[in-house]
């Protein structure tokens, strides 16, 4: 039998695994689409190549010192590799189960397909990522300060962590039967009879919900891995928790910073057909998020004080952060309301403010506040058709 439109580059044995076959065909099509625009594909390929070479050359010294440190604390490397593998496989299992449950091929006799192939697709992400880490470790031997023995030792540590963590993550993420769980574990239960009245509370909660959604364990696992690696050897349990807490607060503040432009755009797409004014739109959206920013910044300042930073320094950093938050939020909301793109302007303004602050203390803050007020004014005075 022949299937003329299935690309020949796809191996024949994949025909026995239709779900994977469908994914493979989609990938081949995606690449073909990209190749139809040679300028874009060449640009991407050259950029990736240059970035890789640059990273290898520029980071070789730093990486070799990290490797020396990692070999000193081999248990941490195994633990970090295991945690990463566990979170990866846990997420992967959920992705596979969701894909199987929602697939357009659900009514076909998929169940008869080979279990060995299924197993291979299951462990593929872990294998290729472990292989990438090992390859990187071997590539570092190009730098004379890293020996092949050290490289192999690190590779073995990573592989051991992955071999232990992967199956654990897979096993831990097994799902209860459909009738034992609610429709979504992120859907809160209703505590009382909800009242329905005009209110902007939902808008105020939206960016916070978005930041929490981005912070789900499956999304934040890389950050967790990085945070664990920043705990110095010999740190007590309280110290370690303190460091992890600081990372969590920092992550939340950054997520909230990005959430407002993201949510603002979505909210405007939804509300564009209503006669909502700029202030009626912007204030509910930012009021609770800004309160969280202030509380989070105060907490971060407290941490900085606990780490022996001067009060003036921690206050200064806190003020700069809040000024940048105001700047980015004001530009993004005002320009979204005025139906203009804001990403480039927000990036340039932030860079300019930081540059000015580096030259003259207080100048960047003043510029941020000025630009923020200017954009709020532009948003408020924008006449809607």
């Amino acid at each position: 039998m022949s299937w003329p439109s299935i690309p020949r580059t796809i191996p024949r044995w994949l025909h026995g695994h239709p779900l994977a076959l469908s994914t493979a065909v989609a990938w081949v099509n995606r690449i073909r689409r990209l190749l139809r625009r040679p300028s874009v594909s060449s640009f991407i390929a050259i950029t990736v190549l240059v970035a890789l070479l640059f990273a290898l050359v520029a980071l070789a010294n730093w990486a070799s010192s990290v490797m020396q440190q990692a070999l000193k604390y081999s248990a941490i490397v195994v633990a970090a590799s295991g945690l990463y593998a566990a979170s990866l496989m846990s997420r992967h299992r959920r992705t596979i189960e969701t894909a199987r449950a929602r697939t357009w091929l659900v009514a076909t006799p998929l169940a008869s397909r080979g279990s060995m192939q299924t197993l291979m697709f299951t462990v593929l992400p872990l294998i290729w990522r472990t292989t990438a880490a090992v390859t990187l470790a071997v590539l570092l031997t190009l730098d004379s300060s890293v020996s092949i023995e050290q490289s192999l030792q690190l590779s073995a540590l990573i592989a051991v962590g992955a071999a232990v963590g992967g199956p654990c993550g897979w096993w831990l993420s097994r799902r209860p039967a459909m009738h034992d769980k609610p429709a979504s574990r992120y859907t809160p239960r209703t505590r009382s009879e909800p009242s329905i009245a005009p209110s902007t509370d939902a808008l105020a909660h939206w960016p916070i919900a978005q930041a929490f959604a981005w912070g789900r364990p499956e999304n934040a696992r890389l950050l967790l891995g990085a945070a664990v690696l920043t705990i110095p050897g010999g740190t007590g349990i309280l110290g370690a928790l303190f460091i992890l807490g600081t990372w969590t607060v920092g992550y939340y503040l950054v997520a909230l910073l990005i959430a407002i432009p993201h949510v603002g755009r979505s909210a405007l797409q939804w509300l564009r057909s209503t006669p909502i004014t700029f202030w009626a739109f912007a204030w509910p959206l930012v009021r609770r998020a800004f309160l969280h920013q202030v509380i989070g910044t105060l907490a971060a300042m407290g941490v900085a004080r606990a780490l022996s930073a001067a009060l003036s320094t921690s206050m200064y950093l806190g003020v700069i952060w809040l000024a940048l938050v105001m700047l980015i939020w004001a530009i993004s909301l005002a320009d979204a309301y005025r139906e203009r793109s804001f990403a480039m302007k927000a990036a340039i303004s932030t860079f300019a403010a930081l540059l000015a602050e580096a030259r003259v203390h207080g100048l960047g803050v003043a510029i941020s506040v000025f630009v923020a007020i200017l954009h709020l004014h532009l948003g408020a005075s924008h006449e809607r058709a």
Binding site: W3, I6, P18, L21, L105, A107, P109, A111, M178, P182
Partner: protein, 243 residues
């Protein structure tokens, strides 16, 4: 012989029991419609029938073969299901979708009558375009074509006429009627369109609060037609809620 037997099926999400002992049969050559307000469990029942969800209890058989457990594969060989348009893979072309689906159903080739129907539905010009460029109606046509592949005993359609233009809709109804006349299959269609029930269905069931609250045979549907316009609509409205 029935192509579909649903016996006392219960399904729940957490504490919420969506299906509370649903029983339903579709005979070969019969076009059966599943009616009911939004959120009563029509789609959940269809998901149980096609094997997407495992019911908490009860049994579902397609041409006498259980859809769950070890016989699932054999049952699915006799099943045709038009998935929702949003489930189609956007990065595949229509032709690739048909081919992958045929592979998944262990077919030697794409059925001639499905290709002929594609021509009649004026889907052929879109065959080599990517699914993510399709309109809703074009996607719907592809879903139906996929559901008809492999000459299935039971064809399950969930709001399959939504988004179809009148001409395509009529073409599809005629095609299904031809298959039914030849006793090739039975059709189960979940729909809100009472027009289809009145003019094409051989049986109908109304799902309310997770149970089949009312059934109409072909004779009863014929009698309703004699009562004038909107008779079925009034009959549905008169069925009391079970809560």
């Amino acid at each position: 012989m029935n192509v579909l037997d649903v016996e006392s099926v219960h399904a729940r999400f957490g504490a919420h029991e969506v299906l509370r002992g649903v029983s339903l049969q579709v005979a070969r050559g019969e076009w059966s419609c599943l009616l009911g307000p939004n959120g009563v469990g029509k789609s959940t029942l269809l998901h149980c029938i096609v094997g997407r969800l495992d019911p908490a209890s009860g049994e579902i058989r397609i041409s006498g073969i259980r859809i769950s457990g070890e016989s699932a594969c054999a049952a699915k060989r006799r099943l045709g299901y038009a998935c929702s348009p949003e489930q189609l893979p956007g990065l595949l072309t229509g032709r690739q979708c048909l081919e992958v689906y045929a592979i998944a159903k262990d077919l030697e080739r794409i059925d001639e009558d499905v290709l002929a129907l594609a021509e009649e539905l004026r889907f052929a010009p879109f065959m080599d375009a990517f699914v993510d460029t399709y309109s809703l109606g074009t996607r719907q046509k592809l879903c139906v074509l996929l559901g008809l592949l492999g000459n299935p005993d039971l064809i399950v359609l969930d709001e399959a006429f939504n988004g179809l233009d009148p001409r395509s809709s009529l073409t599809l109804k005629r095609h299904l009627r031809e298959r039914l006349s030849a006793d090739r299959c039975g059709v189960l269609l979940a729909t809100h369109s009472l027009d289809i029930v009145e003019h094409h269905a051989d049986a109908a069931a109304l799902l309310l609060d997770g149970v089949v609250a009312k059934r109409w045979t072909v004779d009863e549907l014929e009698r309703l037609k004699l009562l004038g316009e909107h008779a079925l609509e009034r009959a549905i409205a008169e069925v009391p809620n079970l809560d």
